[in-house]
């Protein structure tokens, strides 16, 4: 096979370019890499959450707060305001979140067309990064229901995304988020920071391109 010849040759060429003997194994050398950048948080949770709010608003996302136990009422108020009727949810969602007066469509391996027919999607969030206003979405089995975001197409095709963020999932820095996701690193992870956007025409930032054009975040204290 051509592939195999190419593989052998490329690896041999790299090894010959790197022929100088190494003093350390790759693992030890990697462990010795400098990492003086900020890894841990310097803020308490309340101030992390208000930073997250600020950064999310900066991207043009809607931000709402809700007390624990009031999530379902909070979701109902937001959906009413957005006039969303056909709202998609992942099958594993925490059912206590769902307000009674709305019809939710549970994802049972729906086709692209069926996803496209929904006007919104409601999911949890695996980890939220305050410093950058980023929501980490993962759907791994080990995650609690309120941390699961469904398969990737769910939060992509519908034009509206309402994401519920438990305050316990909020971290301040990017390295903290990677630490939280470390157990799920083989699973698909999507980081979203605000609604889809482009600045390709004259560097004018336009919100809403192919991904959801509207993003709301409900932070649960």
């Amino acid at each position: 096979m051509n592939d195999a010849i190419a593989r052998t040759e490329i690896l041999a060429r790299i090894r010959s370019a790197n022929a100088k003997p190494k003093t350390m194994s790759a693992v030890d050398d990697w462990k010795a890499l400098p990492r003086q950048y900020r890894q841990q948080s310097t803020r308490d949770l309340a101030s992390c959450i208000s930073l997250l709010e600020d950064r999310l608003r900066d991207y043009g996302a809607g931000v709402h707060r809700s007390a624990r136990g009031q999530v379902s009422a909070g979701i109902a108020a937001i959906l009413r305001q957005r006039n969303s009727r056909q709202v998609l949810v992942p099958a594993e969602i925490d059912r206590r979140w769902l307000p009674q007066q709305f019809a939710f469509v549970t994802d049972t391996d729906l086709s692209h067309g069926e996803l496209d027919a929904c006007d919104g999607v409601l999911t949890g969030c695996s980890v939220a990064i305050a410093m950058t206003g980023t929501l980490g979405l993962c759907h791994a089995d080990g995650l609690a229901p309120e941390q699961r975001a469904g398969r990737r197409a769910l939060t992509l095709v519908p034009d509206y995304h309402l994401c519920v963020v438990e305050s316990s999932s909020v971290v301040e820095t990017v390295p903290q988020a990677f630490e939280a996701l470390e157990p799920y690193k083989g699973q698909p992870v999507t980081f979203i920071s605000g609604p889809s956007a482009t600045a390709d025409i004259e560097m004018t930032r336009i919100q809403g391109v192919h991904g959801p054009r509207v993003l709301d975040v409900l932070i649960v204290d």
Partner: protein
């Protein structure tokens, strides 16, 4: 492919572009905006320099152990259901992709990828009867206007919204289209929507490959990337062998420095990481083509291998005073700006693009903004050296340049000779000073300088003459003061 041999060298290609006022306006506006945003979001990071240090060392470490990491990536990606292919050059990569796509589809959707530009994939696909559809807004504009990208991150930054309106009105048959950026974006969304939902094969590049997991990471803004990565049945990614990082947590560095450097955002809207095939979630067939295309040649050159550390953020382009004047097309290469000036000739085994390492004033602005601290000015000088060594006429004892250099050395060695030369210069320049007070045109070889810029005349008095006069009068004063 890199610029063919017949392509104009940088100064000749730059000339018509420098006269294109519209283009220069567009380039300046775009680079100004990104630079301003970048310096704001970089400025708010107290640990920016530590992130750069880590990023530089991670890249350096990866290159030292590259073969091990690629094998590790291959093993983990394969175990997760992906299929790994290897390509020594552009032709092999294109052949692999075409073979995979040919029986499955008549058209493919594509995510913006500099690597596929580098290997000329679109042309190869078209020749094989497969229609590639670019889905990034800027790439769509470039593709539909049969243009070339002029910037790594914002490929259509040389085209303004009026030009986009005229283009889309024609290609999408939208006669009522306005030139508001919102409307143009909406037109692109509507144009691509069904293609996303129905096309069975997508082609992407890759921002990072994770050796530890076999994962691939793609960084984007519009969601066109997520559409291509999620909805089709088959996904084919093409990545240079330089794109690998050792572990998942190394992304915590890369995903902090890349968006801030590239678009001046704290984080870009979407980052996707996936590993092979995930049952019930996304494409059920995943291929990745690992491309050499002379990267191993670059790795061989100890003084230039840091070129491979590049993560394609484009910050060096926005900061470069030369790029700012000419825009990307003057480089006649897929990769423009300072990084293009070092990458392109090396990807062409120093047989093409030899004028590019000279397209720099060596001011160092690129090095200062580079998030992985590639010392571009030093690599530029190293490559200039290699180019001189290639050209025996520059080294001959009686070559024109060698004689000129020896003459200059002789001149500068004696004060009297320098004084005389300056006097002659001041006399002779009177013939060339224009009404503007600048020298606008010089004869013969000296004309190389004034072809693209004016020259300030020598002042009536040299520093030395001024200093001599000044010390005669001030010595007396100083004596009174201090003694």
């Amino acid at each position: 492919m890199a610029a063919p041999n017949s392509a104009a060298d940088f100064p000749s290609a730059a000339l018509p572009l420098l006269r294109n006022v519209q283009l220069r306006d567009n380039v300046r506006h775009a680079t100004d905006v990104i630079q301003r945003k970048r310096s704001r979001v970089v400025g708010e990071m107290p640990d920016w320099e530590m992130l750069r240090d880590s990023a530089q060392r991670i890249r350096e470490h990866t290159m030292e152990y590259l073969a091990d990491y690629l094998e590790q990536f291959e093993q983990n990606c394969t175990a997760a259901g992906g299929q790994v292919h290897w390509a020594r050059n552009a032709e092999e990569a294109n052949r692999i992709v075409i073979k995979l796509a040919q029986n499955a589809t008549a058209s493919v959707i594509k995510i913006k990828s500099m690597t596929t530009e580098e290997i000329g994939l679109n042309r190869a696909l078209e020749a094989a009867g497969i229609q590639p559809v670019e889905t990034d807004l800027a790439e769509l504009i470039v593709q539909q206007s049969h243009d070339r990208p002029s910037h790594i991150v914002v490929p259509a930054l040389h085209i303004n919204r009026h030009q986009v309106r005229d283009l889309f009105a024609r290609t999408m048959n939208l006669t009522q289209l306005t030139d508001r950026a919102e409307d143009l974006t909406e037109a692109a969304r509507a144009y691509l929507r069904q293609k996303f939902l129905q096309t069975p094969v997508a082609i992407s590049g890759a921002n990072f490959l994770v050796a530890e997991t076999g994962g691939v990471c793609i960084v984007e803004s519009e969601g066109n990337g997520r559409m291509c990565l999620t909805l089709p049945r088959t996904l084919i990614a093409i990545a240079g062998i330089d794109k690998v990082v050792p572990r998942f947590r190394d992304l915590e560095v890369m995903l902090q420095i890349l968006p801030r450097s590239a678009t001046g955002e704290r984080m870009n809207p979407y980052n996707s990481i996936w590993t092979g095939v995930h049952p019930g979630d996304g494409p059920q067939e995943f291929h990745i083509v690992l491309l050499d295309n002379r990267r191993t040649e670059i790795l061989r050159d100890a003084d230039a291998r840091e070129t491979l550390h590049c993560i394609r953020c484009g910050a060096c382009q926005n900061a470069c005073p030369v790029y700012l004047q000419t825009g990307g097309h003057a480089y006649n290469s897929v990769y423009a700006g300072p990084i293009g000036a070092i990458l392109t000739p090396q990807l062409a085994l120093m047989r093409e693009g030899q004028s590019l390492p000279y397209a720099s004033s060596l001011c160092g602005a690129c090095y200062e903004v580079c998030p992985v601290k590639i010392n571009i000015p030093e690599v530029l000088i190293h490559l200039r050296g290699r180019i001189v060594q290639q050209q025996p006429q520059l080294q001959r004892t009686f070559g024109l340049e060698a004689i000129a250099m020896r003459f200059a050395q002789w001149l500068f060695l004696s004060e009297a000779r320098l004084r005389l030369a300056q006097w002659i210069g001041r006399m002779a320049q009177k013939l060339f000073i224009g009404n503007s007070g600048w020298i606008e045109k010089l004869p013969g070889m000296l004309g190389g300088w004034t072809r693209t810029r004016d020259l300030r005349p020598m002042p009536p008095q040299s520093f030395r003459a001024w200093f001599e006069k000044r010390s005669e009068s001030s010595t007396v004063r100083n004596q009174g003061k201090y003694e």
